[in-house]
């Protein structure tokens, strides 16, 4: 099971793990102070993390289903699987998903940089 967490989501997850069990209102206060988040934003992220299966929101109290250590070890395993035995195209796609440059273009551009003289 592959769970992706962005940097921001990770920070928030850390906040929950550090303070659990914690009420959502308490989380709202904390995120407002640290991140300047609106109430609705905090609730949205909580819901998303719960949907991803990491946490659960029980009548306003948020607790974790997976502990922090468990989660990060899962991430590493996942990474290794993907790198070596997972589908290669998917891996490359993930790696290059932020780039619009072809290999040829990269070579050309690198050549330009290498030619730079003072």
């Amino acid at each position: 099971m592959e769970i992706q967490l962005g940097v921001v989501e990770s920070k928030f997850a850390d906040m929950i793990w550090a303070n659990e069990p914690v009420s959502s209102t308490e989380l709202v206060k904390m995120t407002a102070k640290e991140f300047s988040w609106a109430r609705t934003t905090t609730h949205n992220v909580i819901r998303r993390l719960c949907d991803k299966g990491i946490f659960v929101n029980n009548k306003g109290t948020v607790t974790s289903l997976i502990s922090r250590d468990e989660f990060y070890s899962m991430q590493s395993k996942q990474f290794v699987e993907d790198s070596f035995s997972g589908s290669l195209p998917a891996f490359i796609a993930a790696f290059t998903k932020n780039s619009c440059l072809s290999e040829k273009e990269r070579k050309e551009i690198r050549a330009i940089i290498d030619e730079m003289e003072g």
Binding site: G6, V7, V8, E9, K11, E34, F35, S36, W37, A38, T41, N44, V45, T96, N98, S99, C100, L101, E105, R106, E108, I109, R110, I112, I113, E115, M116, E117, G118
Partner: protein, 610 residues
């Protein structure tokens, strides 16, 4: 709204010369630092915003015949004149400047001749302006809808972006980090925030931040927003879109230049590497929020490689270039003025004719393309086909009736006006029109419409050329003392020749010369001003038949072969002839023929001058 629309169309036409020029300069002078094209785009923005133009001999704007704003206005009532700003705009900028008696034009032949060809060019332009004038209302509605759509789109994308970055975490000052964005951007103009994608590594973060901070320092969010507002206003203009896109690119490159201007070679190489490896999305920015699309990694890296510090010389050259561009494109060409001779001195003796004794002119090619009865005589002069003022919603109340002026056309010597009279009493009241300084009585044509409205067309002749006139409506019922004034100007498209001349024609019977001092020619009438009143009694002049000879060799009989109208004021006599739609500039000579066949000619084409 319509006057704004028309002014904007006019501005976009002159921008159509400026923008390609800037694009060309940008292409040719690629090596220049990129803040220079940004300045040039600033000049484009000025052109698109500022409706005033100075005249300059160096102007490269080839089409500057603006759509006269006056036409789209409704005429105002009694006593209220248009504001002087509008007056000067519509009269100073309508195609060809009519000569006023206090005109300022240059007094030379070249201007006169170029005035003729300019007029032919502006006839073509007039066809387009006609299109805009006829469809102004619907076109301006379409335009406003387009503007609204653009602005709504910008608002919508702004809101969408704000939602996207709701989950951003503050990083430093006004820099935030967010998961759900792919490339860094600046959001907001008043309180701008830099948003970074969370996927940047440490080195990338450093350079991206310096790049974005430079954007903030150069106030790029503000300029971009201004640019987008202009784009919204000129959404229909493809060149403005091109300008906006290129402007966005130039901003990016200029920003890069500022960032690396303090770096040494090693740092610059590192910066270029960051650009390469970060692989930030290449996207052309079209939207208001500063979703700065990158220019293209290759272009940016090349720019970094080729960066050279600018010298003072380059800076000075750039400023000069901007001034040159501004002069060439923010100005409009000097309009040729039909020649006017203000001074009557003996050197300017254009024509002096004497009766040619004994010679009879045999060939009189009387070209009347229209049937003889169509040659306008004094009675029943038909209205010109040139554009007329349409008056709407003007209602004048008299005791016995209501008068609504419907249209008027004025070419300086003849004033045509059409108006409806709705009578309240059983007795019909006559509404008379006149104008100050008009030469003779108004002639009327009267028709009755089925629903009882009386439709009147009136012709008011003038003895000499006047650039403005006032139609006065008064009632024939002497108990009703109301009078209404409708001020009008020369209708666009009516050109005229108005010249001082110094022409002597000898009379056979007396020792006195006829001394013609001024001639006014419009498309329907010719007025000669004689500097004597003593001929009022002399019937000789009434018997003359006058012919106008045209530049193409043909001739026209004036006044349909009948007598001219003769008027007099304290010091002068005025002879008023009519003709049918000859272009004033086409008349080269006027030939006077007496009853017994003798003739004299008056040369008015000024081609005899050296």
């Amino acid at each position: 709204m319509e006057p704004i629309f028309l002014r904007m169309i006019h501005l976009s036409i002159s921008a159509s010369f400026l923008i390609p020029a800037v694009m060309l300069i940008r292409l040719i002078l690629k090596k220049l630092p990129k803040w220079i094209p940004c300045l040039l785009w600033g000049i484009v923005a000025i052109r698109l915003i500022c409706p005033l133009s100075l005249e300059s001999r160096f102007s490269l704007v080839l089409w500057s015949n603006p759509i006269p704003v006056g036409e789209a206005h409704e005429l105002e009532e009694k006593g209220e004149h248009r504001t002087s700003a509008e007056e000067s705009y519509s009269s100073a900028e309508s195609g060809l400047e009519i000569v006023n008696n206090q005109g300022t034009g240059e007094n030379n032949l070249e201007d006169y001749l170029s005035g003729i060809s300019y007029r032919e060019e502006s006839a073509r332009q007039n066809a387009v302006t006609h299109f805009f004038l006829k469809n102004t209302h619907i076109l301006s509605i379409i335009w406003i809808v387009g503007v609204t759509i653009m602005l709504l789109y910008a608002l919508w994308t702004y809101r969408a972006l704000r939602k996207r970055v709701a989950e951003a975490i503050p990083y430093k000052d006004n820099i935030w980090v967010c998961d759900s964005i792919d490339s860094p951007f600046i959001l907001g103009v008043v309180c701008p925030r830099i948003y970074l994608p969370s996927s940047l590594n440490a080195l990338e973060v450093c350079h991206v931040i310096s790049h974005e901070l430079v954007h903030l320092r150069r106030k790029d969010p503000l300029w971009k927003m201004l640019g987008f507002i202009l784009l919204s206003v000129y959404w229909f203009h493809p060149l403005v879109w091109g300008a906006y896109i290129l402007f966005g690119k130039d901003i990016e490159l200029a920003c890069d230049e500022t960032v690396i201007s303090d770096m040494d070679l090693q740092e610059r190489k590192a910066y270029a590497n960051v650009l390469l490896s970060s692989g930030i999305h290449r996207r052309v920015v079209l939207t208001y929020p500063l979703h700065f699309g990158e220019v293209g990694i290759k272009a940016r890296v090349r720019a970094v490689k080729e960066y050279r510090r600018t010298t003072i010389g380059v800076k000075v050259a750039a400023i000069i270039l901007c001034i040159v561009v501004a002069v060439c494109f923010l100005t409009i060409p000097v309009k040729p003025v039909i020649a006017q001779d203000n001074s009557v001195t003996s050197e300017k003796n254009i024509a002096s004719g004497e009766f040619i004794e004994g010679e009879k002119r045999n060939e009189l090619v009387c070209l009347s393309e229209t049937a003889a009865e169509d040659l306008p005589g004094v009675k029943g002069e038909k209205k010109d086909k040139s554009p007329v003022y349409e008056t709407e919603n003007i209602v004048y109340e008299f005791d016995g009736c209501t008068v609504e002026p419907r249209w008027c056309a004025y070419d300086g010597l003849t004033l045509f006006v059409g108006y409806d009279v709705t009578n309240r009493k059983d007795d019909t009241v006559e509404i008379l029109v006149s104008a100050e300084n008009s030469a003779a009585d108004t002639t009327y044509e009267k028709m009755q419409s089925p629903d009882g409205i009386v439709i009147m067309n009136a012709v008011i002749p003038f003895a000499c050329y006047r650039p403005t006139a006032e139609i006065i409506f008064s009632s024939s019922d002497h108990n009703d003392s109301k009078k209404y004034c409708l001020p009008i100007e020369i209708t666009e498209g009516n050109q005229a020749v108005s010249k001082d001349v110094d022409c002597h024609i000898k009379l056979p019977s007396s020792s006195e010369d006829i001394h013609i001092t001024h001639i006014d020619i419009t498309k329907n009438a010719i007025c000669l001003k004689l500097d004597t009143t003593s001929l009022w009694e002399d019937t000789t002049i009434y018997g003359w038949k006058n012919i106008a000879k045209l530049k193409n060799g043909t001739s026209r009989v004036l006044s349909n072969g009948q007598e001219p109208l003769v008027f007099r004021d304290d010091t002068n006599l005025y002879l008023r002839y009519t003709h049918s739609s000859i272009e004033p500039g086409q008349i080269s000579e006027i030939i006077f023929t007496t009853e017994d066949g003798r003739e004299a000619s008056m040369d008015i084409s000024s081609s005899s001058r050296g």
